[in-house]
Amino acid sequence: MDVSYRWLQRHVDLEGVSPGDLARELTLHTAEVEDLRPFAPALGTVVVGHVVSRERHPDADKLSLCRVDVGNGDPLQIVCGAPNVDARQNVAVATVGAVLPGDFKIKKSKIRGVESRGMICSERELGLGEEHDGIWVLPEGLSVGAPVAEALGSIEGPGGVRALDWIVEIDNKSLTHRPDLWGHRGIAAEVAAIRGLPLKPLDLELPPTGDGAPFPVRIETAGCSRYVALPIEGVQVTRSPDWLRMLLLAAGQRPLDLLVDVSNFVMLDLGQPNHLFDGEALRSGIVVRDARPGERMTTLDGTERELGPEDMLICDGDEPVALAGVMGGEGSKVNPGTHRLLLEVASFHPVTVRRTASRLGLRSSASARFEKHLDPTLPGKAAAHLVNFLRELGQDVRLPAPPTDAGDWTDPARTVRLRGARVRSLLGVELSTAEIGALLERLHFGVAPGADADELAVSIPSARATKDLSIEEDLVEEVGRLIGYDRIPEQALTDAVHPMARDERRVLVRRVQDRLSGGARFHEARTHTFLPAELAAALGVADEPYVRVVNPASEGLERVRRGVVPSLLGRLETNLRERPEVRLFEIGKGYRPEVEGDRGQPAEVHEVALVLAAPRPGPGARFDAGAQARLTGVVDDVVRTVRRRELTWSRAEGPLPGWAHPGRTAVGAVAEAGEGPPVALVTELDPVAARRLGLEEHDVAAAWIAVDALAAVPIPRSWFQPLPRFPGVKVDVALECPEELAHAELAAAVEKAGKGLVRELELFDLYRGENLGAGRKSLAYHVLLQAADRTLTDKDCARFLDRVERAAGDLGARLRRE
């Protein structure tokens, strides 16, 4: 909201309070001031000129040749095209060299052969609204040659800059809870409270009215709690005086004609929107009702709108004449010939107005105010203010009938008890209860003694009671902000701090992050929680159950992801354009709507997701050079690092997500944990999904590790093993077997054949080839045999190999002796 410093001066004497002081003090005590800027800075660059003479331009009918005195004894010859320029006027002159808004620089020029040394300005050229039918005529008696801002009375702001007025822009969000601050009177009341200054009196009593019949008003909806209607006669629709136009401009409101300006003035002064109807266009009487389904009306802006029961209408009989609180209708618009007016000042339901305004995209300064739970006592006061203000402007206003005051409302003013001790303990300041009372009185509260010496009975005026202030703590805030939070002494917490419960998940997450980003050389990513529809389709997971957003950020972002792997897979293709290999991981959350969480919300899974994409290994590469084997190694390493456990891998059973290769997916479990859910899954990217993602050329593997399942695995205590005293012997074992026989079975058989002597066992080659025959493979192991009590001999090796040969034979494998 834009607040005019000059406007505030109508309500409080700001002698000694500069615009900079005002902005700073409002920020520290009331609401955030976002900007402080001079009003119409161009007024500081143009000067008051006096038109000494005006003649017709010799070669152009529509141009005038003016001699303009700018105070230096050398009248300037200026060519002017405005029809209203005339001798003896005071005007705003931009002399040669001046720069006007829009970076418009004034130069000496020749217009139709006649020299022109400057420009006589219109309001629009000075950034004062849209008026450009003619030049701006200044009042008489100004000091010729002075900058216009100075001649009209300027105010010094920060940095010594002088301007006609200063605009204090307050963040609307910080006024959400303060309906009383949506007008200059309310802001002035804050300034008065902060500074301990008196607020100037304001006459809010309606002058005596005639005894005609009050205007009929009927309220048929709960959305309107009060409707004041007042017929007004005798108003001449003219142009508003410049000072009023300037105030409105400074407050961000475009001036139009006297009626519109006065209506806006009252809204910006008291914060209460109001509406003026052409009284002659109203035939039956006002009815406030909800719109009917599909009902249509044309608003002031000429647009036909389709409405429904959630919208509220002001009608003339049955005919809609305004969209309540949002915008007037075209039919009853006031025009310059209007002499009989009907003033509407009403209280509308905030939520109804907010919903209509935002659905129709018609947020206005009026609807913004209605949304804030306005003081229901305001309509009567605002009606009086409008009438009094018209009189102040010299209008001969007649009120033929008393106002109609319809509706069912109660004054929210209330009394709240406040204990001095509560203020002292929450704020941590030493203030006597009497001092607290005095502070609250400065804020325009009524203060009376309470039940005991430490208690105050604080009466809260209606303007603050609609939403903002209802409990003791609210008053604590009032006291705190008025004394200033910088006056509150810092205090150290002294309560006992208990040792913290060990947070397994957080410890584990950090170690996993460190391991993956360190040794494994993975880069940690974070990706969006929303799974794009296109990606879900490409990965074949579009039809899984998802938590869905009803109002997504954009179409296709309805799905809340079930797990993290798909999000990472979606980021591979772009990254691979820049580099041959991509290793990414993310520790994030997914949601399962089919499982209930602790309070009935969908269950949440914490997942370490990993993806690895690399060029396909060449023909001579080692058997474990592929992405899936590498990723399996990384997962094994992580589990070993954080849990000192080995994973047992097996072929995944049951339905798999669409991105998992149906024949090449492994799940890992911690052997000792028994039949629990898998801790990890590693897969090659399904070829169909790979094609859809444009990853066919790459070797892509993906994996997840279930954080909570892993955190639940206890870390075994590791007991010290005596250092070996006798050297071991290394033996290579090569076994040829059918494809179906798993490495794990062979390795177990080899280990068993060692009778406790196998200290290390490493698969170093896995070979398939024509020489072995179809459906067969060869696995080769480095084995270290070592005994605790003696040095092993060739004989031990020979016996070991014999046993391996027999065990392998039992499994259908053959020991290859070269």
């Binding site: 805030e477 810092e490 309560d495 980003s517 974070r526």
Partner: protein, 341 residues
């Protein structure tokens, strides 16, 4: 004979002194000391000598051998020293040739900053908590003193989920305040880093998904002064600026009363810069004393206990910290971005 001996010794010493390497020394050794060498010949000649000379020749031959061996050893040691000395020279060394590259991965900048923040607060006795991102309306709004028709619900542009509209993507980390109160007995202190969502247009400074750190401290007699000292102390560590100044000004959040905005003195300038919009203050976090309705919703008696709460944006802090110009980078998983951290 003696002349002969002296000649041999002199000659051998000369050759040894001239020897530049082991090969030359070995040649001397072969010529004099080894089988078939001068000493061996002298000894071999003994049987043909008169008996009275035999002993002297034998002694002389051995003396010669010993003397040559000593000279050889001395020269060897000299050569070894010279070689060591030569190895200590600087030739062939370019200190600017890079070391063997050790490639590494990286931690997300938000992770790094989050850890830093967690470490500061845990050192001050705060427990780190987590809460669900798909949250019940009850926790995200109602229990936080945000009733059904409150403008905050529209103000925050909530993402609503299906299931009869009771579910939202949490719009702040504050629902974890209630969860913490339900789970912990006062006194307690806790922070909650986490992901939050608001239905906003994406641009360089706005994302519909961002990260917050919530803080909550509940105990007997907690006052505004405790909040100020806690945040000033913590933010000095977080921003690593020992003389960091903070200030409170009024701010409105339905779940605190009184409510504040906390500004920190701009750590980047002394008298105004682009980052602080030339005010020397940076709006850092919303905070306040926990509203009694919120304490009650969490099952805590507001007459006995009071508390303060605060919340700040991690993304904005990271952007300030590393001069990141676009919030969208954080969730794009672009390696060109990630590798920088």
């Amino acid at each position: 004979m003696n002349v002969d001996l002296d000649d041999h010794l002199e000659e051998a010493r000369r050759r040894i002194a001239e020897a530049a390497d082991e090969a030359a020394l070995r040649a001397v050794e072969r010529a004099y000391v080894d089988k078939g060498g001068v000493v061996a010949e002298m000894l071999a000649s003994i049987p043909g000598l008169p008996p009275e000379d035999r002993k002297a020749v034998g002694v002389n031959a051995n003396r010669l051998k010993t003397a040559i061996q000593e000279a050889l050893e001395a020269r060897r040691s000299e050569l070894a020293d010279a070689e060591l000395e030569a190895r200590r020279g600087a030739r062939g060394f370019d200190p600017t040739v890079p070391g063997t590259p050790q490639r590494r991965g990286s931690l997300h900048p938000l992770t790094q900053l989050q850890r830093h923040v967690e470490d500061v607060f845990t050192s001050m006795g705060y427990l780190v908590l987590d809460g669900p991102e798909v949250e019940l309306d009850e926790y995200n709004f109602q229990k936080l003193n945000i009733p059904a028709d409150h403008p905050a619900r529209e103000m925050q542009d909530t993402f609503w989920c299906d299931r009869d509209q009771h579910l939202v993507l949490r719009t702040h980390t504050s629902p974890v305040q209630i969860r913490a109160m339900e789970q912990l007995e006062p006194p307690f202190r806790t922070i909650v880093p986490g992901r939050v969502f608001r239905n906003e247009e994406l641009d360089a400074t706005h994302s519909h998904t961002f990260h917050q750190v919530e803080g909550l401290c509940v105990a007997e007699g907690v006052a505004v002064g405790h909040l100020v000292m806690t945040l000033r102390t913590a933010l000095r560590e977080v921003l690593m600026k020992d003389d960091l100044d903070v200030r409170l000004r009024p701010g409105y959040f339905p779940f605190v009363e009184p409510g504040f905005e906390l500004d920190v003195r701009c750590p980047f300038c002394a008298d105004g810069c682009r980052i602080c919009k030339h005010t020397t203050w940076i709006e850092f976090c919303g905070c306040g004393m926990v509203h009694p309705n919120v304490l009650r919703a969490g099952g805590i008696d507001p007459e006995r206990f009071s508390g303060f709460a605060f919340g700040f944006g991690l993304d904005r802090l990271a952007m300030m910290w590393a001069a990141i110009d676009d919030v969208r980078h954080f969730l794009e998983a672009d390696l060109r971005f990630l590798e920088q951290f």
